[in-house]
């Protein structure tokens, strides 16, 4: 609880004062390192109209290591697995302290607009995405309707 690095305070303030369009990130009441995130499905993507809940956690040595982010809402996406874990380079080896919560969430939003089946995390989804894209997109839309709308 004590000794929250100034950087985290600053990032939080800015996220609240100037939120990223289509993204809300609110720190938990009891743990300032834990954020409740909602990302709206980008326009012209199969996730359009959906509201996706995520959790974001800033580890003890943030910003030396990347935030941990996970989808809570189920999503049909080649780079997100059943547990909501995300395959995104900047959350792994491409992390740099020059990045921040804001840029991470923007990248996740961009990942929804541009699924990358060549670097899959959910193999079955990625496979279908490559073999029969229109069916995969139909599935994604269906999952969005089922899990990410009017909760």
């Amino acid at each position: 609880m004590a000794a929250l690095p100034r950087r985290i305070i600053k990032e939080t303030q800015r996220l609240m004062q100037e939120p990223v369009p289509g993204i809300s990130a609110v720190p938990d009441d009891t743990n300032a390192r834990y954020f409740h995130v909602i990302v709206t499905g980008p326009e012209d993507s199969p996730f359009e109209g959906g509201l996706f809940k995520l959790e974001l956690f800033l580890p003890e040595d943030y910003p030396m290591s990347a935030p941990k982010v996970r989808f809570i809402t189920k999503i049909y996406h080649p780079n997100i697995d059943r547990l909501g874990r995300i395959c995104l380079d900047i959350l792994k080896d491409k992390w740099s302290p020059a990045l921040q919560i804001r840029t991470v969430l923007l990248s996740i939003q961009a990942l929804l607009s541009a699924p990358n089946p060549d670097d899959p995390l959910a193999n079955d989804v990625a496979e279908l995405w490559k073999v029969n894209e229109s069916e995969a997109i139909r599935n994604a839309k269906e999952w969005t309707r089922r899990y990410a709308m009017d909760n």
Partner: protein, 306 residues
């Protein structure tokens, strides 16, 4: 028009403010170092990060601790910038800035920011440079609305003259203002042409300056950075021996010992970049405090993800 000038002024200040902050901790840089790719960070921040990954956080160029160089000029700029900001903030800054777009600026107002000034062992502010800082100040007061003008003057130094006072160190360059009939002679110390009737006074100043320049370098204690250790290859008892050697505690499991030793070495080496490094006992104390704090935090925070 005045309004436009004001916003240009404030916008530039905001930009400078941002540039003087470390990209890792988002504070004003404390003992800055420059990488070979020309990016600046707090010495301690970048040294810590290079233990995670040997690359520059901004441009990803491969970077090692040995590539870091102190950047004294930047440190000095930050000290004087903060000094300037501190003086002008109450009157000018606070009122005006809040009305202009607030972008990226929430940080500037928090009084906590000035903490880093205390953190650094700031030497007494150089009088001469301090006076030079009055020039942007008087510009600021010219651009504020009339009603505030009186307030403005209170915050600058007691001298009432609005004229920019040129400190004596610049006298050699002012030959244009001197009587043209005077013959010019070259100062043997600084090689600048000076009117003959001024040369004695100039020479006095010049020599005085030379003396003050040399002195601080002499008394500067040179502290050498500690060599890098490959902790994973060291046996427990060797690590304990090292800890003991540095005056650190030797209790705890393997991981605690490694973290403790590494924390100390990073802090020690970052401290070497300072003009006035703190005493060893202060560094040891800081390490112990940090360790205790982390131990406390670790318990509740690990519950959340994975």
């Amino acid at each position: 028009m005045k309004g436009a000038l004001n916003s240009i002024f404030i916008y530039s200040l905001q930009h400078i403010d941002k540039l003087l902050q470390c990209g890792i901790c988002y504070e004003y840089m404390n003992t800055s170092v420059i990488t070979s790719c020309s990016h600046n960070y707090c010495s301690l921040c970048i040294r810590k990060y290079l233990h995670y990954k040997t690359q520059c956080p901004t441009c990803f160029e491969e970077t090692f601790e040995k590539d870091l160089r102190k950047n004294n000029l930047l440190d000095e700029i930050i000290i004087h910038y903060l000094n300037f900001k501190d003086k002008s903030e109450k009157k000018f800054y606070q009122k005006e800035i809040l009305t202009v777009e607030n972008r990226n600026f929430e940080n500037v107002h928090s009084p906590n920011n000035f903490e880093c000034k205390k953190k650094q062992n700031v030497p007494d502010t150089n009088e001469i440079l301090d006076k030079n800082l009055e020039s942007p100040m008087s510009m600021a007061s010219n651009t504020t609305p009339r009603g505030q003008k009186n307030d403005q003057q209170n915050i600058s130094t007691p001298s009432t003259s609005t004229e920019l006072r040129i400190p004596s160190m610049f006298t050699p360059k002012r030959k244009g203002f001197q009587n043209e009939e005077n013959e010019l002679v070259e100062c043997p110390v600084c090689k600048v042409d000076v009117p003959q009737n001024n040369i004695n006074k100039h020479l006095d100043d010049c020599l005085k300056r030379e003396n003050t320049k040399v002195q601080p370098k002499k008394c500067e204690p040179k502290r050498k950075p500690l060599p890098k250790l490959v902790l994973s290859l060291m046996k427990d008892n060797i690590i304990r021996k090292k800890l003991k050697e540095f005056g650190l505690l030797t209790q705890g499991d393997r991981k605690t010992l490694e973290t403790r030793l590494q924390r100390y070495i990073i802090l020690y080496n970052a401290e070497c970049d300072k003009i006035n490094p703190r005493s060893i006992s202060e560094l040891i104390k800081q390490c112990e405090e940090e360790e205790n704090l982390e131990r406390k935090i670790q318990k509740p925070s690990n519950v959340n993800i994975l």
